[in-house]
Symmetry: C2
Subunit: 373 residues, 2 copies
Amino acid sequence: MKHNHFTFEIQAYQGRARAGIFHTPHGIIETPVFAPVGTQASVKAVTPNQLTELGASLILSNTYHLYLRPGDELVREMGGLHNFMNWSFPILTDSGGFQVFSLADSRQVDQDGVTFKSHIDGSLHHLTPEKAIAIQENLGADIIMAFDECAEPYNHRYITQAMERTHIWAERCLRAKTRHDQALFGIIQGGVFKDLRIQSAEFITSLGFPGHAIGGLSVGETKEEMLSVLDAIDTTLPQDKPRYLMGVGTPEDLVNCINRGVDIFDSVFPTRLARHNTAILRTGARLNVMNASYARDSLPLDETCDCYACRNFSRAYLRHLILAKEMLAATLLSIHNLRTLILITKDVRTNIFSGKYPEFVETFNKNFREGQN
Amino acid sequence: MKHNHFTFEIQAYQGRARAGIFHTPHGIIETPVFAPVGTQASVKAVTPNQLTELGASLILSNTYHLYLRPGDELVREMGGLHNFMNWSFPILTDSGGFQVFSLADSRQVDQDGVTFKSHIDGSLHHLTPEKAIAIQENLGADIIMAFDECAEPYNHRYITQAMERTHIWAERCLRAKTRHDQALFGIIQGGVFKDLRIQSAEFITSLGFPGHAIGGLSVGETKEEMLSVLDAIDTTLPQDKPRYLMGVGTPEDLVNCINRGVDIFDSVFPTRLARHNTAILRTGARLNVMNASYARDSLPLDETCDCYACRNFSRAYLRHLILAKEMLAATLLSIHNLRTLILITKDVRTNIFSGKYPEFVETFNKNFREGQN
């Protein structure tokens, strides 16, 4: 298996934090990177043009959703996901595992794979490692993910079984893969248990994937537990391959996980918060735009932000749009929140290059804690 | 009263159709023009940047809605409507009359004005000609409208009373007006009755307004009745002032009313149709994007269209967005439908300049009728 397209250059280190460039068939990704989520082949309320303008380089889309609707065969017929959704830059698809295991009562797992009921029409489907790869090959993302089992993070016995299944499935995914223009990442599981995480990291990194994901976090565990998993596996993960922390994406998590060596993040957090009338500030603080104190506030959401919303609209106008139930509110807040996360990754890169990342982290965390009070 | 800002140059005639330029403090409007509607200071699902890109020159906003929410005083404090909604090109506000009279059971009219209940919180409000002008002066649009009474089009006795009240109110609006950077248009009423329409046109045009609107149409009357009203008042309206047909905006109405001398149109039609999954084609035909036959259709909505949606997305993708309930569907369809109406006005101007407008109207109507079958 060749990964000629997928070289990863690390440009600078500071402690465990790294600034790098990951090459893909659809262009480069400067890391650390935050990937907006377009679950159903659309980042909610935002056009590809707006995504490009706000500086997105990598976006994520969900295999589970696209497999069910419109169907991966249809996407392939339409020229693949890049062409279908008009995004000519890198795309990452997950394997469908996380969504399928989130279905709880509507799925059944065995060694072969998972049988589940569609949330759309209740129809029965069977997803296996081979099927997850075939779907992702039809979709055609640059980065695709191994099919894994996400278990509740605190049940050691179940987590062990799920991890072992995930390891077998990782090997099956590697064997099933046929395209050379996609990078398949392996996923490390093991819940909050350090012994299992290390065991999983040792196994998964032995398989020669071009990148590694840390799955099953940000699912209810504490921040300390999440960070301690990153600490536990740090030396097991090869330095020269990108590290992707799946589903994580608050500003404070970005800053602290980059400080522990993570390169890639994705989360619906910024766009979901936008649709709940909340702006994320560069400091990590959240601003509830519905607050009556903004009714006549002519300031932008964040004076340090250069996004389309902040350059052109006041808090008063955004609050009006929300009260008037205008869709434009979700668009402008999504643009702002996504830009803010991207600006934070840019701040991080600048500080890694200038050798001031520890101070940046300390100041960020101090300001963030004070903003919470 | 001066209207130095508001000269109207007619560049070419063909029959009664005219191509012209209307000058306003926020730039020129090439006529015939179609104005997208931003009821609550937002053209639904579309950003001002996207409106500029699709070629909008004039947009309309509603006095009734903005008076109730966020309030015209607040808009004035925020620098006026142009600044509040970030639209630096011409804006037209209606007088609130149409919306208030649409409230039916929740309003009471007398010689002074109208008392009505807010649709938002049931609070009581009193709107008079003087108040409608004061609100519109706070909003600060380039073109503002006299306060008029819209009556059911078929009740001759009531229509007569409403028209007479509208005439008195028109004079009161002129007296109430204080700003010199806004053009106040008078509104001609009279339902479907030619005698009343001529009487109203004679009275309103005698008052020296810089432009004239035809109100109370597109409210349930037949197309023939609408067109015959335009025929009836044609010679009474001065040639050298713009003519605005309020609330009208299907492609076929544009083409046929321009042929009867109308210069300005507005309607929620294109954006409302967009939110009901329907694309308007350059021929005037409507395309229901939900139709199963488009599931794997890689064509754009309209191959003759140059909008952002048609340049970048297939019918299959748009259909997927609709089925997946993604907001982006409304944005892309709104952009397309607005661009289509603007392209039709551009087609019209080109044909007026080249002396081929009668042929254009004939071909358009023929194709449109055939498309209906």
